[in-house]
Amino acid sequence: MLQMFLRRLFLGAITVAIVSMIIFAGVEILPGDACTAFLEREAQGRVLENCREELDLNRPAVVRYLDWASDALRGDLGVSANGQRSIAEMVGARLQNSLLLAACALIVGVPTAIFLGVVSGLWRDRPVDLILSTGAIFAMTIPEFVSATVLILVFSVWLGWLPGIVLTSANAPASEFFPEIILPVVVLAMVMTAHILRTVRSSVIEVMNSDYVQMATLKGVPYWRIVFRHALPNALLPAINVVALTIAWLLGGVVVIEVVFNYPGLGRMMIDAISDRDLPVVQAIALIVATVYVGVNLTADLLTMVANPRLRTLYTRK
């Protein structure tokens, strides 16, 4: 088990390193740099030279990448190319905001999704299941920016109940984000609920059809006891992985939602940084997001192993 864990950890680190290289190369290949993005039409001659010198853009890309990577390994994310502020400081507040958004969406979304998933699994093919499943397909397939815009139009422009977009500044305490955060949370919860609901539903159906549930039924175990005691613990296992992926998706900065709602999280910061060609910031965010993805998936796999005796014994008996 420990060996397995270390191996996964090592692979994760390599993944993160490769991602950072791809991102660096990607931003480097885009036409223009931090200076042309900022100076626009002024980007000529001496002004451009001065700017490049100041931002240290004249050294070869490989050298700049290696410099950055060695600093990042020591935990120093450096300073932004524009404005020269400490990236750790800038990213810190944004990360907190993205965490807040993710936490709210999870608190609302996961219990709802599991509850609805179990309901529609148990009452398979009944009207309630048909309604929930169809609703889930809609929630999954309508792009977030569309559902976001529709919600804003209805609740903010027509009804005037909720603020449409987030105007709170990045460094404000969490409490100040209410009630502005409600609409983005609802949109996120809708999308993730749909995904988790469908996974839970199919796994509930599968478990309820399994031999041991049938055995229990034949033995005369009361229905709800079968459901809670024997079926659900097994049925919810696959949900762990879906929830983990959802968490990773949320923490990675839900770019579209953050831009539509003007939410000051990691995703919007990423977009701004790309437009500014602010390589150090883009790199730092990519590193954080990649780490989160790898970390959350690793945790989910471990959790699954812990929760599922079959997987666990497979590895410990080796």
């Binding site: 002024e42 977009i165 105007l167 500044s169 831009v259 539509v260 500014d276």
Partner: protein, 540 residues
């Protein structure tokens, strides 16, 4: 993100005389003789509101001391310069939506667009217009309590002129050789060339006065003499301004302003619709439909000197042939382009960059002439027409539409246009002024500056590589000419010369739509930098 969206709002606002219903009244625009009526609104109700508002303003002006500030006015900015955003009025990253409220200029545009006193109360020139003397306003204090005087003017202007600063505002006053203080309240400006329109240049929206020696801190403190003072500056989030009770024109009507960074245009529109902000300047013709019939908003229509167009490089085949250049411009049906591309929100231009309401604008006509274009092309040796690649990018959302509409119009004369979509990134550095034909856009400038910066043989931004000694000579003569009528005649000649020979198709000047919440009153319906912010009030 250092997008020129912001630039669209940061304008040299000049000389907008009467904006009549059709926006093109010639008598008005040429001499500014008619009474200016800068407000053009959609509804009668709005007219009523305006009358009430003006009456209120008159009462308020009469008793400035009795007026208490109340309410908060909210507006968005594009955060267009990202982390480089700054309160330094002359830097590249200035946030105009903030500097316009916290700092004043020496001269500002009056409601009629002509130079009117701000921190300078009067000005006069010597006989050949090379030495100007300005009297400064007495009793004005900066937000930090220091008194405004000549030393601050010297410092502010010299800072712009300092080559080390690389300020984009420098080109507006590059003719200034020296600035001296005659006494604490009098400044003398010496020019290296006669320049009869110096006050026009001093109206530049960036030339705002800051305290002496504040250059190192101004980017974050924003200390000026304007009607509002910076309480907290947060470019990315919300910048809070509070009323300056000591403002020289009278205490403001609004207690507090919040200027909020919202990079996404759609989000800004939603914020306005949802009542989270009170004003948005970047409404498109398509979006304005959403405001029609609503009593919660009004739309101000404000003609500007901003233009979009297509540049044909005059130094390459086939456009080095004058006849081809004339043909490619002759095929455009400009009114149709205004209707198709801007939904009618523009004023036709005949390849002159000088804005419709400028006192130097030439009265030109340029109807579509397909047969004439064909004949010219044949004469130039292209009886079967020509193939051209027009480069555009979504950097300016109207470019692709403009190019496609032009493609259809030009096809009739045998000009086969291939529209090439270039990436937005690097458009200015790699496409514009590199490809033979590319789209361009400019923000308004005074006539002299527009003609100099874009068409003079030696201009840095001579995007069409236009080389014409006769044109250069006309401009030089105009600057030297002290008699207004004679000077105007020279500028008009220069524009006629351009229409004859230029390589740049300028089909129209854009009319700006400003969406305003109906809780805001007394907002001048004039160009951005002529708005008198201390007058506005908001409902609680």
């Amino acid at each position: 993100m250092a997008s020129t969206i912001d630039e669209v709002f940061c304008i040299h606002d000049r000389l907008s005389f009467g904006l009549t219903e059709n926006g093109t009244d010639k008598n008005n625009r040429l001499f500014g003789l008619a009474a200016p009526d800068p407000i053009k609104c959609r509804t009668r109700e709005e007219d009523m509101k305006r009358i009430i508002a003006l009456a209120t303003a008159a009462v308020l002006l009469a008793s400035p001391m009795a007026m208490a500030q109340s309410g908060t006015f909210r507006q968005a900015h594009e955060y267009g310069f990202g982390a480089q955003s700054s309160l330094d009025p002359i830097s590249n990253g200035r946030i105009f939506q903030i500097t316009e409220k916290i700092m004043s200029r020496l001269v500002r545009p009056g409601l009629d667009g002509r130079p009117s006193p701000d921190l300078a109360t009067e000005w006069s020139a010597n006989e050949d217009a090379t030495v100007w003397t300005l009297s400064l306003r007495e009793g004005v204090t900066f937000h930090d309590g220091t008194t405004f005087e000549a030393a601050d003017v010297l410092y502010s202007l010299n800072r712009v002129l300092d080559p080390e600063m690389d300020s984009p505002a420098r080109s507006a006053i590059a003719m200034i050789e020296a600035v001296e203080a005659l006494d604490d309240m009098t400044v003398q400006i010496t020019l290296d060339t006669p320049f009869a329109d110096l006050p026009l240049q001093l109206m530049d929206y960036r030339l705002r006065m800051i305290p002496e020696d504040s250059g190192d801190t101004i980017a974050t403190t924003g200390i000026g003499t304007g009607p509002f003072m910076v309480e907290t500056f947060d470019a990315e989030g919300t910048t809070v301004l509070v009323a300056n009770p000591d403002y020289w024109e009278g205490a403001p009507g609004v207690a507090r302003m919040e200027i909020i960074g919202i990079p996404d245009g759609q989000a800004r529109l939603q914020a306005l619709l949802g009542g989270q902000i009170d004003m948005e300047r970047g409404i498109t013709a398509q979006q304005s439909v959403m405001f029609q019939g609503s009593d919660r908003f009004t739309i101000q229509e404000i003609p500007t000197g901003n233009w979009r167009g297509l540049v044909f490089r005059t130094d390459v085949e086939p456009f080095n042939d004058l006849r081809v250049r004339q043909a490619v411009r002759m095929v455009a049906d400009r009114q149709e382009l205004v209707d198709l591309v801007l939904g009618g929100g523009g004023i036709v231009a005949c390849d002159t960059p000088v804005e419709p309401n400028d006192q130097y604008r030439a009265d030109l006509s340029c109807p579509q002439d397909i047969e004439g274009a064909r004949a010219l092309l044949a004469e130039a040796g292209y009886p079967d027409g020509i193939d051209i690649d027009v480069h555009v990018a979504t950097l300016e959302p109207t470019w692709p539409t403009l190019a496609v509409a032009y493609q259809q119009q030009a096809a009739a004369a045998g000009i086969r246009v291939n529209v090439v979509q270039a990436p937005t990134d690097g458009y200015w550095s790699e496409v514009w002024m590199h490809e033979d034909v590319s789209a361009t856009r400019w923000n308004e400038r005074p006539a002299d500056q527009a003609l100099h910066e874009i068409y003079l043989s030696t201009a840095r931004w001579n995007e069409s590589f236009y080389q014409d000694e006769a044109f250069d000579a006309l401009l030089a003569a105009a600057r030297r000419e002290l008699d207004f009528e004679a000077r105007r005649a020279l500028y008009v000649q220069a524009q006629e010369h351009l229409q004859e020979t230029a390589g740049t198709l300028i089909p129209y000047h854009v009319t700006r739509l400003v969406g305003v919440s109906s809780r805001v009153h007394n907002l001048d319906a004039v160009k951005n930098d002529a708005v008198r912010w201390h007058l506005i009030t908001v409902d609680e």
